[in-house]
């Protein structure tokens, strides 16, 4: 079961280590992590994509994260209306003769070419993981040289009430 968990944390040295260490220690399987600053100075936001067996494991992960002193707020946003994005850079072997074909191919994905050389192209794509995945699969026959992906970052859409789980009022 794929879960998307977001949290805000103190931007202190070692915090990421603390969180990933917790995942390792308790044998939770992480698919991706993204971290970046928030609108508030000194506070960062993390987005986790994790694979868990059942509800109980998900609940335990959230409780363990909440227990961390540097963690301010944890949300499991899997079942909410969310905006989730990933960015990928894909370097493809393309001879000049095939460039036009690639342009046509990536257009429906609203991807863009960010670097061109005589035998390769770098394509930038953003979107949900599935979309990124689909484009990579389409490009694969041309010969992918390198892929760099960021992992998912996400938050809930503005037009819904978030069932936020605040640490201070945490009751199962």
């Amino acid at each position: 079961m794929r879960r998307i968990i977001t949290m805000t944390v103190n931007n202190r040295p070692g915090v990421l280590n603390r969180i990933t260490g917790l995942f390792t220690k308790r044998h939770y399987n992480i698919e991706s992590i993204t971290v970046g600053h928030t609108e508030v100075e000194g506070i960062s936001r993390m987005t986790f994509v994790v694979n868990v067996e059942d509800e109980r494991t998900a609940e335990q992960i959230i409780k363990q994260l909440n227990k961390q002193i540097d963690v301010l707020k944890v949300n499991d946003i899997t079942n909410q209306a969310i905006v989730a994005r990933e960015l990928a850079l894909v370097k493809v072997s393309v001879t000049p003769a095939l460039r036009q074909e690639i342009y046509t191919l990536i257009e429906p994905f609203r991807a863009s070419i960010v670097d061109v050389s005589k035998d390769s192209l770098v394509i930038q794509v953003t979107g949900e993981s599935e979309k990124v995945e689909a484009l990579i699969e389409l490009l694969r026959p041309y010969g992918i040289k390198e892929v760099a992906r960021t992992g998912t970052t996400a938050f809930t859409r503005g037009s819904q009430k978030t069932a936020a789980m605040h640490k201070t009022a945490f009751i199962i």
Partner: protein, 577 residues
């Protein structure tokens, strides 16, 4: 004097070195004793300690220092304070940190670190202490700037002692201890991400009161959380008010009087038959401050299979972690029990249930065959119980002697039992006794250890002798790593792979080497005689008891089995009509 000069003067008053700040902070926290060991990276600190008036105990190994601090914390309820140097000093406390983390003991540990300018260069005596101790502390810090030091120390004491207690480590680079900064220790602690819930939710309390009133077979499983919250009186009042029987975890012993009619004994792998059957048969299980450790639950499939589970714990992450919970109550044990007593719901009708339990208690008590020709370890514990009127502080290592002490010393009072539960640390008992004795100078402290574990930390005899702490060190000598031997006998076809130690040193001579009296006993009569002698001496004594070597701890739940499937249970007496 110009205004500027006055301001400068005021500033000068509060400026001091990091080392001095640390001493001042410890004084402000009313720290009575520090356990530590000096080294290069903490020399500036030890220099300031020299004439500070702060009582420092030099143990002979850092592991001894941290276990002593654990013993101190367990008995006094105050945080144990430890200082170790960088690198090897710091890595020597790793076992104790993990032990304190598993058993929720409040510690504040200071480690030296190489100077900030060389951190990361693999400098002499450098170790990544922050990285090493991250998963085994409640929280840890590395001080990067002198201006942060007072705030960090204040936060560390707060974190260690509030919510679910635990060890907090502060790693201090050497140049921070010599740098000068402003010392302000009056500021409050501001940790938005750390707000432990200590008061119970009323709706959940209501649900528990309802569940009790409908229950026919309730049982309370009480853990160390009761002791941490000083809630023994409340536990007793609640159990009596509702007529609910109580079982204890290993670490919870003493939270409920062992001689109380509602007490069923310790639960778990070496618990009593009655306690385990109560957990198996109950229809309502009220867990107060225990974390459903696997040594208590046995195979989870057969743990309290018929029960509605209620769990009171200050750590929300413990609720539902191992056992699905119907009634979760995040709270300090004392606050929750007070609320439960106050609500005074309709008590459960437990008459039939208690009759059944009493029948089990009578028919299946803890049992061993006495033998005057040797010393039965169970008998030895009973003799110690008798001679100390059940009032001694008992510290132990881990293994057979620990289980016999838990089974046969009846703890009627809280804060008399110091043992390594979660981590199961050999070598814990002797140094823990030092801390326990310093926490309660008037108490009789008996450190019951095995011949194996004793040899892991026996160098701390030097501290006992030096401070003339009247600790009675009792070696239960079966010339083996007893529990390992027992498991090999039962589960590995008696293939005693590296568990037998027939060539032990002469422990009596060892006592003499440390300038303390030592006695040996090989029969029951001799045992009584040397015990009497030892308790008459107002000073440290070492006792070497050669016990029956092949004695096993029973009853027992074999690994992987349900707690109702105990072996070594013998019926005694007739079934009543």
């Amino acid at each position: 004097m110009s205004r500027m000069k006055v301001e400068e003067k005021a500033l000068e008053k509060t400026k001091m070195s990091g080392a001095l700040m640390l001493i001042e902070a410890l004084k402000s926290e009313k720290v009575e004793v520090i356990f530590g060991y000096p080294g290069g990276a903490v020399l500036p600190l030890y220099d300031k300690l020299y004439q500070s008036g702060v009582f420092h105990v030099l143990t002979r190994h850092e592991q001894g220092a941290i276990h002593a601090a654990e013993g101190y914390a367990r008995i006094s309820g105050k945080p144990g304070v430890v200082i170790a140097t960088s690198g090897p000093g710091a890595t020597n406390i790793v076992t104790g940190l993990t032990d304190a983390m598993m058993d929720s003991l409040p510690l504040v540990v200071f480690t030296g670190q190489v100077a900030t300018s060389v951190i990361g260069s693999d400098a002499f005596q450098e170790a990544d202490v922050l990285g090493i101790t991250m998963p085994i502390t409640k929280y840890n810090y590395q001080v990067r700037d002198i201006s942060e030091l007072p705030k960090i120390i204040k936060e560390a004491f707060h974190i260690a002692t509030t919510g679910r207690p635990g060890p907090v480590l502060i790693d201090i680079p050497k140049n921070i201890t010599t740098a000068e900064g402003e010392f302000d220790y009056k500021q409050g602690v501001h940790l938005p991400g750390y707000q432990p819930t200590t008061q119970p939710n009323h709706l959940q309390i209501r649900r528990l009161v309802e569940a009790v009133s409908q229950s026919k077979k309730p049982v309370i499983l009480a853990g160390a959380g009761v002791l941490h919250a000083n809630a023994s009186n409340e536990l007793r009042e609640y159990a009596e008010q509702q007529n609910i029987p109580v079982v204890h975890t290993l670490l919870g012993l003493g939270g409920f009087p062992a001689d109380h009619p509602l007490f069923l004994g310790m639960a778990g792998m070496h618990g009593t038959y009655t306690a385990n059957m109560a957990l198996y048969e109950c229809d309502l299980l009220i867990n107060i401050g225990a974390r459903f450790d696997d040594r208590v639950t046995g195979n989870l499939k057969y743990f309290a299979p018929k029960a509605t589970v209620a769990h009171i714990d200050i750590d929300p992450a413990e609720i539902g972690k191992n056992v699905p919970t119907k009634i979760p109550i995040v709270s300090d044990a004392k606050a929750a029990l007070q609320e439960l007593i106050h609500q005074q719901g309709k008590p459960a009708d437990t008459t039939a249930w208690l009759a059944q339990l009493n029948e089990w208690k009578r028919r299946f008590p803890l049992y061993y065959e006495d033998d005057a020709q040797t010393i039965k370890p169970q008998k030895l514990i009973e003799m110690i119980y008798e001679l100390t009127n059940g009032d001694a502080i008992i510290t132990t290592d881990v293994g057979q002697h620990q289980m016999w002490a838990a089974q046969y010393y009846k703890f009627n009072k809280p804060h008399r039992w110091v043992t390594s539960g979660g981590l199961g640390t050999m070598g814990f008992g002797l140094p823990a006794a030092i801390g326990a004795q310093l926490a309660d100078r008037n108490a009789t402290v008996v450190s019951i250890v095995g011949d194996g574990g004793f040899q892991m930390t026996f160098q701390e005899l030097a501290v006992i002798q030096e401070l003339q702490l009247p600790i009675k060190v009792v070696i239960v000598n079966n010339q083996a790593l007893g529990m390992v031997r027992q498991w090999q006998e039962l589960f590995y076809e008696k293939r005693y792979s590296h568990s037998l130690i027939p060539n032990q040193p002469d422990f009596v001579k060892l006592a003499e080497a440390y300038n303390m009296p030592g006695f040996r006993a090989k029969t029951e009569a001799e045992a009584m005689e040397v015990l009497k002698k030892a308790f008459a001496i107002n000073g440290p004594v070492l006792l070497d008891f050669h016990v029956k070597a092949d004695e096993n701890v029973y009853p027992m739940v074999a690994p992987g089995k349900g707690i109702h499937e105990m072996v070594g249970v013998r019926p005694c007496g007739e079934l009543s009509q």
